[in-house]
């Protein structure tokens, strides 16, 4: 029995409204092959995390969070407080206790 991977996901800037107003949640991800048997990756990356979030936490208006296989342009992603653009974006491989934050910029002032 393979172990689960624990990461923390956070939502801000209005993105939390799509996730039942949850701003912060620790999640336990099952082994990738259990969740996505067809996945080409061996380990969890942000790409699979988005699918998991869609299936498990996203409660409304999916199109405001996701576009194609990534986040909707305008949603910023921070990996351990750092811009995901510095870390390979969707290809970033998740590590135990990573903190992944999604901040929406798509809202009024």
């Amino acid at each position: 029995m393979a172990e689960t991977l624990t990461v923390e996901v956070m939502f801000g800037g209005g993105a939390e409204l799509l996730f039942n107003k949850v701003k912060r949640k620790e999640i336990a991800l099952p082994p990738l092959k259990t969740f996505l048997p067809d996945s080409q990756n061996q380990n969890w990356t942000l790409k699979e995390l988005l699918i998991w979030l869609k299936d498990n936490l996203l409660v409304e208006r999916e199109e405001l969070f996701l576009k194609d296989d990534s986040v909707r342009p305008g949603i910023l992603v921070l990996i351990n407080e750092e811009d995901w653009e510095l870390h390979g974006q969707l290809n970033y491989e998740l590590k135990e206790n990573d903190k992944i934050m999604f901040i929406s910029t798509l809202h009024g002032g």
């Binding site: 305008g74 811009d83 653009e85 910029t105 798509l106 809202h107």
Partner: protein, 433 residues
């Protein structure tokens, strides 16, 4: 794998700057972010020493970051500005009431005086009431026109030299794009101006004109600034939404496109004959207007006369609508006389009913069902007669007034000022000021 800061300070980068593509650490980011805004302010000569400046504050990310940055720069570079916050309460329950709490937080955090002006006080209508009257279509027109004027009025009350708004680079690029898409060349000509406002008006300045939205959000996040981030509860502006989505998609492929679009807008040369109508003063409220009567006054008249369509769409329609209204009004006066006896009966019955139900006889009254039924019957009868008269003079009940489908967003948008359109989702510009 940590990425080193491009500036060679030895720290690890936290952010990839969209403007330059540079990887940069937190401290260097703060420095670059603030210094660029300082450069924009000094190069554009936005302020003079000793000026009083109102920051148009909505509680959103842009105005919160603007207030914070202006305070920082004012102290760091000794601008000598007297900064204050100016907020407009449109009266949108579940949206503006919450965001104003954030503005009050800004007031305390940044130690700036705060002035809040409400639509209710200025115009006698809240946005909630306006939407109840006109429906969800076109309501951004009311909100935008009223807000623009409300900001002017607030600024006049505060006696400030100018109003600083939180329009960011993404907003400006989006507006350039929209004006191109609409063929609105006159507005295209001036929408990139860092200072707007003509003679007699209090100028608006945009210190965040060259600041990317991504950096504003990251700055607020790293500085732990509290801002309000809920979308306006009313209908979003679909056209602007598409322009925004297009821009964001392009930014993903080529982040510099935002600066490039602004640059295109700034350097495009427009034929001389394309110009905006000359500014004058509204004969009713004395505020600056391009027409004899300003848009806010026309919209307000429409609301007060139960003609919410007035002022939506071409201004040439206004006179026609008003003439029709006046004819009906005259006819109605005759009709009202016919109705008078019926109204009196109704009033009497209601009064009796109220007396009974408020008094000790209530139980007895309910038991016999006398008053409720009686009142309803009378009202029904009254309504029948009223309806006949209304039909006769082709009047509509207020509750039934609907906006024509032909007055689509597009035709209405043409007559809006660049600042009119509501914020982000809701159009992005307005609520964020």
């Amino acid at each position: 794998m940590p990425v080193p800061c491009k500036r060679g300070c030895g720290n690890n980068a936290v952010l990839k700057r969209p403007k330059t593509g540079d990887a940069i650490c937190k401290e260097c980011f703060f420095w670059a972010f603030e210094t660029e805004i300082h450069y924009t302010i000094t190069k554009g000569k936005l302020f003079n020493k000793g000026d009083s400046v109102a920051v148009a504050a909505s509680g959103g990310k842009d105005s919160t970051v603007l207030a914070h940055t202006l305070k920082t720069l004012n102290e760091r570079y000794n601008y000598g500005l007297n900064l204050m916050l100016l907020s407009i309460d449109e009266g949108i329950t579940g949206y503006r009431d919450d965001s104003l709490e954030t503005v009050k937080q800004n007031r305390d955090d940044y130690e700036m005086p705060l002035k809040i002006l409400s639509y209710k006080d200025l115009y006698g209508w809240t946005m909630d009431e306006i939407v109840a009257q006109i429906g969800r279509k076109n309501n951004c027109t009311f909100c935008g026109v009223f807000r623009r004027q409300a900001l002017d009025r607030g600024a006049a009350m505060l006696n400030v030299k100018c109003i600083a708004t939180g329009h960011n680079a993404d907003d400006i690029a989006e507006t350039v794009l929209m004006n191109v898409l609409r063929g609105d060349i006159a507005r295209l000509k001036r929408c990139t101006a860092i200072t707007t406002g003509s003679e007699g008006t209090i100028p608006r300045v945009k210190p965040l004109k060259y600041t990317y939205e991504k950096e504003i959000v990251m700055y607020a996040h790293y500085k732990k600034l509290v801002y309000f981030s809920t979308e306006c509860v009313f209908a979003p502006n679909a056209y602007r939404g598409h322009a925004r989505a297009l821009l964001k998609d392009m930014e993903k492929i080529r982040p510099s496109c935002i600066m490039d679009i602004i640059y295109s807008g700034e350097t495009m040369s427009i034929k001389e004959e394309v110009s905006l109508p000359t500014q004058r003063l509204c004969i009713r409220c004395n505020f600056v207007s391009s027409q004899e009567v300003c848009k806010a006054c026309v919209l307000l008249e429409g609301l007060n006369k139960g003609l919410p369509k007035l002022g939506i769409g071409k201004s040439s329609k206004v006179k026609k609508l008003l003439d029709e209204y006046n004819t009906r009004q005259n006819n109605l006066e005759t009709a009202v006389k016919d109705l008078e006896d019926c109204n009196i009966t109704d009033k009497k019955t209601s009064k009796t009913c109220k007396n009974i139900s408020n008094g000790f006889k209530q139980k007895e009254c309910n038991a016999t069902n006398c008053c409720t039924n009686k009142t309803e019957r009378n009202v029904e009868k009254n309504n029948e007669k009223l309806q006949t008269v209304l039909d006769k003079y082709s009047l509509e009940n207020n509750s039934q007034v609907k906006l024509d489908e032909e007055d689509s967003d597009d035709s209405e948008i043409k007559h809006q000022d660049e600042d009119d359109t509501c914020s982000s989702s809701c159009g992005r510009l307005g609520v964020g000021f």
